[in-house]
């Protein structure tokens, strides 16, 4: 206990008088910047009113009507009407539009004479999100247009409204997007990415601090006779500070921004704390195993940025090659993402999330190994 306190006092002294506070302030500012940046960047939740165009070779009542209908949807807006396909393609390459609808010459005439005119939807898949969203809006409009014609014909044939509905749409798909009914990007991306940013900062700071002890040759002075207590004492102020930061961040997300939270907020707090601790343990491991402090920071940087990919929220881990699926377990953010999305989206409790708790706790072993290595380095030096 005494060793813990003396190490804690030493660290607090360093923070207060030896300029360590600079890094604490910088990392905190970084995390705050991320919250402000991402929350304001994706304000819309889902991109809306994406620019699209119409290639109107028909110039008829139908094409104008379609243009109006498209403009009435939330997803897209018609920014230009072109006379030819080539013009629209060039506009797409200039990134002025994400999709266009081509109405060939004679469409309206063919429709009136019932010879099934073809219209064509072009969408830009080089930008997956915008391309897919604008395609979906245009496809919906095209289906509705078909449905409108069908209904008109059936009415003329003398069918009743109920019969017509049964004929036009015999089956309807009632989709429920669990806990995110508007397919809002913010809760999906940010509930994992922002704590991930925090975790990254914790990792880099830990590696840096342990590396600094190594560089300035104060390892022996710091670790003393009771390395475990000394390690805990050094880490404690940072653990506390970043855990508070993480919890405040979660309060912003789930409280202020009203992201859906079906489970208990207490579990989210627990996982945030575990994430901070796991990142610190990983940091100690890296700083312990790699003797060159600069190299350790480089390595931590590479590992830390990969965590965002390996967490699997943007691209599911189950679709990665099997070897990488196994490797994804080595990233604390992966466990955090699984646990917190379970708690927030599906209301999971500890009966299901205990696996992730264990996963995050196992990183402590890495921390202990890193510490052993540090201790043995000190002995060798002696």
């Amino acid at each position: 206990m005494k060793a813990f306190y003396s190490s804690l006092r030493r660290e607090l002294h360093r923070i207060r008088y030896e300029g360590q506070s600079r890094y604490l302030i910088l990392t905190t500012l970084g995390v705050v910047f991320c919250y402000v940046f991402f929350l304001t960047l994706m304000e819309e939740g889902q991109p809306q009113r994406l620019p699209i165009a119409i290639v109107d070779e028909d110039g008829s009542y139908l094409s104008r009507r379609l243009c109006h209908e498209i403009n009435a949807t939330q997803g897209v807006r018609v920014v230009a009407v072109y006379g030819s396909h080539a013009e629209a393609r060039r506009a797409m390459q200039r990134q002025e539009i994400y999709a266009f609808l081509e109405i060939p010459e004679g469409t309206y005439d063919e429709l009136l004479s019932f010879t099934r005119p073809h219209i064509v939807l072009y969408s830009n898949n080089a930008y997956l999100l915008s391309g897919a969203l604008s395609y979906r809006s245009l496809a919906t409009i095209s289906k509705l247009a078909s449905g409108a014609v069908e209904r008109e014909v059936l009415r003329k044939k003398g069918y009743g409204e109920r019969q017509i509905m049964g004929l036009i749409q015999p089956i309807e798909l009632d989709s429920h997007l669990i806990s995110n009914p508007t397919a809002n990007y913010q809760p999906y991306v940010l509930t994992t990415m922002l704590p991930g940013m925090l975790g990254l900062m914790v990792l880099l700071l830990t590696v840096y601090m342990v590396g600094k002890e190594r560089k300035s040759g104060t390892l022996a002075e710091w670790l003393g006779q009771q390395p475990y207590a000394a390690l805990l004492g050094k880490m404690a102020p940072y653990t506390l500070w970043f855990a508070v930061l993480g919890v405040v961040g979660n309060m912003v997300l789930f409280g202020w921004c009203h992201f859906e939270l079906h489970g208990s907020f207490g579990w989210v707090v627990l996982f945030t704390l575990l994430l901070v601790l796991a990142m610190q343990a990983t940091g100690v491991f890296l700083a312990g195993m790699i003797a060159e402090p600069h190299l350790a920071t480089c390595f931590a940087a590479i590992y830390g940025t990969l965590a965002f990919t390996m967490a699997g929220f943007s691209y599911p881990v189950s679709s990665m090659p099997p070897a990488l699926q196994a490797l994804s377990q080595l990233f604390p953010l992966r466990h955090y993402y699984k646990a917190v999305s379970g708690v927030s989206l599906f209301g999971c409790g500890m009966d299901i999330c205990w696996v992730q708790v264990c996963g995050l706790l196992l990183f402590w072993i890495a921390g202990v190994i890193g510490l052993w290595r540090l201790v043995s380095d000190v002995r060798i030096k002696k």
Binding site: R116, I168, I171, S175, H294, P316, L345
Partner: protein
């Protein structure tokens, strides 16, 4: 002649400095190679296929069974569980064994038989939007197919058959053409942006480490030949930039030209256009990094700043979140970074086959940045000198 000699001197000094620093070599030549390979491996499968779903069939009718068979046959979905109640399926969802639930209400078959509109409920896992996308597109494809079948049956009962019925089912059929990446894969969309970002960030990291180390060791001025310390600043900056550019030439060639071909990413752009575009991108990036890195006091600070900005820059580039939907402030903010224009231009030239004329804005912005950051990096060198004397 003197100019060339000075440039050459600086060039040699800088190349030597880079090659003598293990960290920089790791970042410049190993990380630039490893990152694209890792991303290529991670996103190898491009699409999310065979998403496990559960089916709750309360109607137990012939129609619902046919629907389920078709669901299972789609590439997107894999019917893993047949549950009797929703509670059971929900439990499976909580345990993450499935990523979607398809529910057929008890009146599904009855409604179909009585020529009314039947309902299928779909519950999507929103923890990753790619699950949602796969589940929804799979279910929609089956729905369209199933609807057409039922519609034709119903029209036949009403006495409308053959082409007449076809005309009615879809009076205005549409074809869809997905341009530039027909399958809509995740790799073809994200990896090009990441490749450019890797170039941008590793250059930043490497220069940051170089500058940070000299500063840490109080060598900022000592690495410059004495006669250039006062008047020759632009030469120093140019000579250094030349060194980084030459060292990066093979890296850029491998990452931005070879990697898309290696991974089978779309690459329909002309190589000449790409080279012409990459020239100001590399220049702007080099000068940008040299400017920012002059403020890096320690080696590790540079690393932390760089890493921190990687994710931010990716989102600012407009490759993920459309640029036209960003708040104006962030959009203007994004113009400060060469990566924004670099990513936009690279995607459009390489993936979409745009000409230089069509990326005019990005191209001009990059040249503008080159001029601006060249000036600032000269100024920053002076500031560093002052600081040293002070």
């Amino acid at each position: 002649m003197k100019l060339l000699k000075d440039l050459w001197d600086i060039f040699v000094i800088e190349v030597r400095r880079v090659l003598h620093d293990k960290g920089v070599v790791l970042i410049f030549f190993i990380a630039t190679l490893i990152y694209p390979l890792i991303f290529g491996a991670i996103y190898k499968n491009e699409m999310v296929r065979n998403v496990p779903v559960a089916v709750v069939d309360e109607s137990r009718s012939e129609a619902s069974r046919r629907f389920i068979h078709k669901l299972d046959a789609t590439p997107e979905m894999n019917v893993m569980y047949h549950c009797t109640t929703m509670a059971e399926a929900r439990r499976l969802m909580q345990q993450r064994r499935i990523n979607g639930i398809v529910l057929f209400p008890h009146d599904y078959g009855y409604r179909l038989a009585s020529k009314e509109t039947a309902r299928v409920c779909l519950f999507c896992d929103m923890s990753s939007f790619l699950y949602y996308r796969s589940v929804l597109s799979g279910a929609s494809a089956v729905l369209v197919d199933e609807m057409e079948q039922v519609q034709l049956e119903r029209y036949a009962l009403a006495g409308i058959t053959g082409e007449g019925a076809d005309d009615l089912v879809q009076p205005i059929p549409y074809d869809d053409v997905k341009l530039y990446s027909p399958a809509g894969g995740f790799t073809s969309f994200l990896v090009p942006a990441l490749l450019v970002l890797v170039i941008h960030q590793t250059l930043f990291l490497g220069i940051g480490i170089l500058f940070g180390t000299t500063r840490e060791e109080r060598q900022t001025m000592r690495v410059i030949p004495p006669h250039l310390r006062n008047e020759g600043r632009p030469r120093v900056v140019m000579g250094r930039a030349l060194a980084y550019m030459c060292l990066y030439l093979p890296v850029v060639a491998v990452d931005l030209v070879l990697m898309p071909r290696l991974f089978g990413l779309p690459h329909i752009g002309s190589l000449g256009t790409l080279c012409l575009f990459l020239l100001p991108f590399m220049l702007a990036t080099t000068f940008f990094c040299m400017t920012i890195c002059s403020y890096v006091r320690e080696r590790d600070t540079g690393i932390v700043t760089c890493i921190f900005f990687s994710v931010v820059l990716l989102f600012l580039s407009g490759a993920v979140w459309p640029a036209c939907n960003m708040p104006r402030f962030w959009r203007i903010f994004s113009y400060l970074f060469p990566s924004t224009h670099g990513i936009q231009g690279y995607i459009r030239i390489n993936t979409m086959g745009a000409t230089l004329q069509q990326v005019k804005f990005e191209y001009l912005m990059l040249w503008l940045q080159t001029a601006l950051y060249f000036a600032t990096s000269c100024l920053c060198l002076r500031a560093a000198k002052k600081l040293r004397i002070g």
